[in-house]
Symmetry: C2
Subunit: 189 residues, 2 copies
């Protein structure tokens, strides 16, 4: 964390500006046109492991390596995420649709099947089946409306072998409440 | 903007933590496994229109409607974006691959073909061919490594007619330096 910056900030929008917002229905309709890669974020603040499916993961900076994602402040995993110092971000392929669903289903024990996950030496839960995961420290939290934007400094990663062809993978994509997989069949270039 | 919060903040990571970063090569390799929807962000601070292709667009909050994207601080459009109060975010379909390429190509006049764009009454450039666009006010800028994370409060949107089926669209996706389009052929559910 910075000496000069609180680790957490709220974005406050003045009342008179809020009145000019578009409706949440229109906003949702616009974002139904926007596809996204799918990731599962895990953490454990010490007393309970959490796993959440997110469609907001993005690379922000390469030097230093920083990524960003956001989660609803109303999510059941949100309080534990608030207390966690570190997270593991998993990139999902189409074969991990089960994991995407697991991290998006309410009211279940997402860690019930102990054959699917383990713990890193540093304590965070990890689902090792994925193409790649990254472990990092949450360096900034921004309260934005009904969500928290988390900025993460990546300090460890598990990626495929150097000879691996990323174009030959089948990553999972979410769009308009439907799951898709990319591959040769979807290439347009 | 908030009374309590500067509109711009740097994230400062202590030197001793920076030393533990993964390499930019490994970070890039991990994100080559992560697909993303494609958007073009336009703005005009008064003296020059800009258009930039981004693969970091995400919905953050529905009430108020907030979105986030990031752009490299080294991009040629970045200085104008810094001075802009408002932006227009365009969601691209596969038919707008030309626009994705336009906003990602250096050293060209991205507004040379005046048949493809116009100006909103509020002054921002808009490419009306897209499925949807949203106009909003930049409410927060976060300096994160070599990029700027922008949080935008959406105040106007152009979306398809209510009867429009989002699942029937063909959005553009970027993955591992390759363009893809979604459709019935890529559905796995």
């Amino acid at each position: 964390m910075s000496d000069s910056l609180p680790a957490r900030q709220p974005i406050v929008i003045p009342e008179e500006d809020l009145a000019g917002s578009i409706s949440s229905e229109v906003f949702r309709a616009a974002f139904r046109l926007h596809p996204a890669g799918v990731a599962v974020v895990t953490a454990d603040p010490g007393d309970s492991p959490i796993a959440m499916t997110v469609s907001s993961l993005a690379s922000v900076s390469t030097e230093p390596p920083l990524l960003v994602f956001s989660v609803s402040a109303l999510s059941s995993s949100s309080p534990a995420l608030e207390r966690a110092d570190t997270v593991v971000v998993h990139m999902l392929g189409a074969d991990q649709l089960w994991l995407a669903r697991l991290g998006a289903t309410s009211g279940i024990d997402r860690f019930a099947d102990t054959s699917t996950w383990t713990r890193l030496p540093t304590g965070e839960p990890v689902f090792p089946e994925v193409y790649a995961w990254m472990r990092g420290k949450i360096v900034y939290r921004l309260e934005a409306g009904n969500s928290i934007i988390c900025v993460v400094h990546v300090i460890e990663a598990q990626i495929p072998d150097p000879g691996h062809d990323a174009q030959a993978t089948s990553p999972l994509v979410y769009h308009a409440r439907t799951w898709h997989q990319l591959g040769q069949h979807s290439t347009i270039d």
